[in-house]
């Protein structure tokens, strides 16, 4: 039995490289989407591939327009984090987590005290971190469809091979989940201070309009600032084979493992131990590669087996297997963020909640403009629109002559010429 299990597990080791070579780009993209759609259901923007190197204060430069973001988000299931610009370290954890043990600012700011509690050990201890809980997700996998790696944890392909099944239904439970954050208000101050300090750098990413000849499209850049992250340390995967196993079979055809034999508990325990020993050897090589740079997502082939973790068999029957995968340190699986549009001269505008935009809740009413002060004409228009039907008159005039801009924009925005016309053509003409 042990040799049979070894045979099965050896195929697991080879499967990742062979399968990856065979899968087309579309199938690999589907891997990311399947996983991301599951995480997205929890109102969290998915990270793909999983990484521990993402934390509140990370600032990414993204170019995708909001309208296109929605399309990309729906197509891929996640948002590519294109360019990591900087990592802000705003003070505020101690105040936000007041009374929370071992939370401080500076070098001891989260996640460091949980990530590396001991200077001489790479092992983490998130037991004091704020915990989170995710629902159990269901999924279907099929080797022929190239979806056998639809979840970026090793347990799924391992489980499929143990089942010796071409397709299966399964559930995945994200255990030992944690979250931490900085409030958007604190982040706002830090971001705007950084924007002021780096206005020269940001000015190159100011918005551009459509060129007159239409050959150059309008562009708009955003700073995507991470406010909250969600991490997971343990993943439970249960797989249920979609079909029964044919009896007999020719020599060399791997048979399903039958570990749960209550008639012989001693033998079952030995088999469990043997399989887990083989699993630990088969997966130990990947643990060294835990974590991948976030910026490498766009255009790169996903690495479904590269997240690294230890896989243990929890339960197995002829029709099902359950495996527990534990990462050496918790990995970020999702985040919440705000998008700060970069305006002319490198000025950062008001933030927009990224998820809100993606889910169709466009928060701000329009593009951000800079207050220009209330000049002489503004001072004349303000009391005038309070009288009688003058507001309606002005709105009609703006629709016809003022590009339908809002009255608030007219009064204190960069519309001095338009204000002059209002005074001349409406206020003075009607007197």
């Amino acid at each position: 039995m042990k040799s049979r299990a070894l045979f099965l597990l050896l195929t697991v080791g080879m499967m990742s490289s062979c399968a990856t070579q065979k899968m087309s780009g579309d199938q690999l993209a589907r891997v990311a989407k399947d996983w991301s759609l599951s995480i997205r259901a929890s109102q969290v923007i998915p990270v793909y591939p999983l990484t521990e190197d993402l934390q509140p204060g990370d600032v990414f430069l993204v170019q995708t327009p909001i309208e296109e973001q929605v399309a990309v988000y729906l197509a891929k299931g996640f948002l590519p984090l294109e360019n990591l610009v900087t990592r802000l370290s705003p003070a505020g954890y101690a105040r936000f987590y007041r009374g929370w043990p071992h939370v401080a600012d500076g070098d001891k700011a989260p996640p460091r005290p949980w990530q590396f509690p001991k200077d001489d050990s790479p092992d983490s201890d998130f037991s004091r971190a704020p915990i989170a809980a995710f629902p159990t997700y269901s999924f279907s996998v099929s080797r022929s469809g190239g979806l056998n790696l639809a979840i970026p944890v090793q347990s799924v392909p391992v489980g499929l091979n143990l089942l010796d099944s071409a397709s299966a239904n399964g559930t995945i439970t994200l255990k030992d989940a944690f979250t931490y954050a900085l409030p958007a208000r604190t982040m706002y101050d830090a971001v705007h201070q950084w924007c002021r300090d780096n206005a020269d750098y940001l000015s190159q990413y100011g918005p551009t309009e459509y060129a007159a000849d239409k050959k150059l499209a309008a562009t708009k850049f955003y700073l995507r600032v991470i406010n909250r992250v969600y991490l997971v340390k343990t993943v439970d995967v249960s797989l249920f084979s979609n079909r029964g196993f044919e009896a007999g079979g020719s020599a060399g055809v791997p048979q399903p493992v039958q570990l749960l034999n209550i008639a012989n508990a001693t033998e079952s325990a030995k088999q469990f131990a043997a399989v887990n020993e083989i699993l630990s050897k088969a997966t130990s090589s990947t643990t060294k590669d835990a974590g991948s740079p976030v910026g490498a997502v766009e255009g790169a082939a996903p690495q479904p087996l590269a997240v690294g973790g230890t896989v243990k068999l929890a339960m197995a029957t002829t029709r099902s297997v359950s495996l527990v995968e534990t990462f050496r340190r918790p990995l970020v699986i999702g985040y919440l963020a705000s998008d700060y549009p970069i305006e002319a001269r490198g000025k950062c505008a008001s933030p927009v909640p990224t998820l809100g935009v993606l889910e169709g809740h466009r928060a701000p009413a329009g593009r951000t403009i800079e207050y220009q002060g209330c000049d002489e004409n503004c001072a004349r228009i303000r009391p005038w629109i309070k009288q009688g039907a003058n507001q309606q008159t002005l709105e009609t005039w703006l629709e016809q002559h003022g590009g339908a801009i809002a009255i608030a924009d007219l009064l204190t925005g960069d519309y001095a010429g338009l204000r002059q016309r209002v005074v001349v053509e409406l206020i003075e003409a009607l007197q």
Partner: protein
Amino acid sequence: MALQPPSPQTNVPRFDVANVVDAMLLDSRVKWIAIVYEATVGGVDRFTITPHIVDPT
């Protein structure tokens, strides 16, 4: 054609916040307004005022 919704305004001095908010509320579609402190420049507090048509929460 209806007017465009009012735009968020940055750099609004404290003494004119009320007037800017008043002007934004002329648009009956505006249901929420966020006033966020931005910085103090030359002894004058500056704010970003953001009107919302859809519940931002």
